[in-house]
Symmetry: C2
Subunit: 204 residues, 2 copies
DNA sequence: GTCTATACAAGGATAGAC
DNA sequence: GTCTATCCTTGTATAGAC
C-alpha cells in the first residue's frame, strides 16, 4: 500500500465518521503517523483529496448504473441497491454534497456529466420497463416524474437518514428507502411488474 | 432596527448568498460597519446566530403547517407552497441542514420536535384527505409512504434545486417540486381529488 | 448595556531544507 | 519523497473604553 493509498483510505474512514469539514489535516496526519506536508505532497489541497474520493465513488457507480434494453424491474431495483451500498461506503461525500458542488470546481464539473448520464440511464431504463410491460405510463410526463423522483431519492436518502433515522442500522435505512422506491414504481406497475416488485421487497 | 436585528438581517442575506460556512464574522462585521466583538456581544458564537435564524424559520412554518380535519387537497398543496417560500427565504439553513443537525446541539434538539410535529401534521392531513374522499389508500402503508415521501421532498427539494436546477428561477424551481408532489398525490387521488390537483397545478 | 481592541488556538496552504 | 517552519484566515475569549 503506497502512502497515497494509505492517506486516501484513512481519510475516507475519518471523513465518514466525523464529516469532511471536521477532520483536520493535522489530525489525519497524526493518525497516520506522518506529517501534514507529506499529505499535501500527494494532495496539494484538501479538495484534491476529496476529489480523489469522489472519483473513486464515480467509478464504482458507473460500473453499475447502465441503460439496458432488456431491463427487468427486479434488476433495476437491484441496480439501485448497489448504488445505495456505494453511497454508504462514501457517505461523507453525499452528506457534504451541496457544499462540494458549490465550492469545488472539479467535483462540480464532473457532477454535471455524472448527473446527466445517470438521469438518461434511469430514463432509458424506465422506458425499457414500460416497453416490456412492467410499468404502464399515461404519457411522457409520467416518465419525467418517475425519473426526477428517483433522482431526488437516490441523491438525498442518505442525508435524510442521517438527520431522521440515525438510530436505525444502515441495512434498515437501505431497506426503508428501497421500499420507498418500490412503492413509487408500484403506482405505475402492471400486474406483472407489481409481482416482481413484491418479490424484491420481500427479499430485502 | 436594533443592532441585533441588523446583524440577523444582513447575516441571513449573506448566508443565503454564499453559504453559512463561507461567510466570516469579520466579513459580516465589515459590511455592517461594526466590529466583530459587537456581533459576539449579541451572539456569543456563530451557532447562536444560526440558531436565531433557525428559530425564525421555525416560527414562520409553525404558523402555516397545521393539521386540519376539513383539509382539501388544494389547501394542503397551498400549505406546502407557503413552506417552500419560507425555505427560499432561509435557504442557507436548508442547504447546510445535515451539518447543522450533526454539529449544533440546539438546532438538533429543536429539529427532533419540529420534524415529529410536521410528520404528524402531514399524516393527519393525508388521513383527513382520505376521509373526505380526495385520496384513496389501500392500507396504512400507503399513508406511511406518502408521509415519508413528502417529508423527503420538502426537506431536500431546495438542495437538489441548488445542485441541479440552479439555472432555473426560484419560481420555476418551486413549480417543479410542487408539481412533483402533485403527481405523487395524483397516484392516490380519487376523481374528485384529481380534479382539484389539476386545478392547483394549472394555477401554479 | 454597548462597543472596541487585541490576543489566541486551530484550520489550510506554501516554500524550502534534507 | 518526507518533513519543518511559516503565513493567513477562522471562530472565540477577554479586558476595557464609554
Amino acid at each position: 500500500m503506497t502512502t497515497a493509498e494509505k492517506i486516501l483510505a484513512k481519510a475516507l474512514e475519518m471523513f465518514n465518521e466525523k464529516g469532511i469539514e471536521y477532520v483536520g489535516l493535522r489530525e489525519l496526519a497524526a493518525v497516520l503517523n506522518i506529517r501534514v506536508g507529506n499529505i499535501t505532497y500527494y494532495f496539494p489541497t484538501k479538495d484534491d483529496l476529496v476529489n480523489a474520493l469522489s472519483l473513486a465513488l464515480n467509478k464504482l457507480n458507473s460500473e453499475v448504473v447502465v441503460a439496458n434494453e432488456e431491463m427487468t424491474v427486479a434488476a433495476f431495483l437491484n441496480m439501485l441497491k448497489q448504488v445505495f451500498h456505494h453511497h454508504v461506503q462514501y457517505r461523507c461525500l453525499l452528506l457534504s454534497f451541496v457544499h462540494l458542488i458549490e465550492q469545488n470546481k472539479v467535483i462540480s464539473e464532473r457532477y454535471k456529466q455524472t448527473a446527466s448520464d445517470r438521469n438518461s440511464a434511469i430514463e432509458s431504463n424506465i422506458k425499457a420497463l414500460v416497453k416490456s410491460a412492467y410499468l404502464k405510463v399515461k404519457d411522457e410526463t409520467d416518465v419525467e416524474y418517475l425519473t426526477s423522483s428517483l433522482s431526488l431519492i437516490i441523491r438525498f436518502w442518505i442525508s435524510e437518514a442521517a438527520v431522521s433515522h440515525s438510530r436505525l442500522s444502515v441495512e434498515a435505512q437501505i431497506r426503508h428507502y428501497l421500499s420507498m422506491i418500490a412503492k413509487l414504481l408500484s403506482a405505475y406497475a402492471t400486474a406483472k411488474g407489481k409481482k416482481e416488485i413484491e418479490g424484491f421487497v420481500a427479499g430485502l
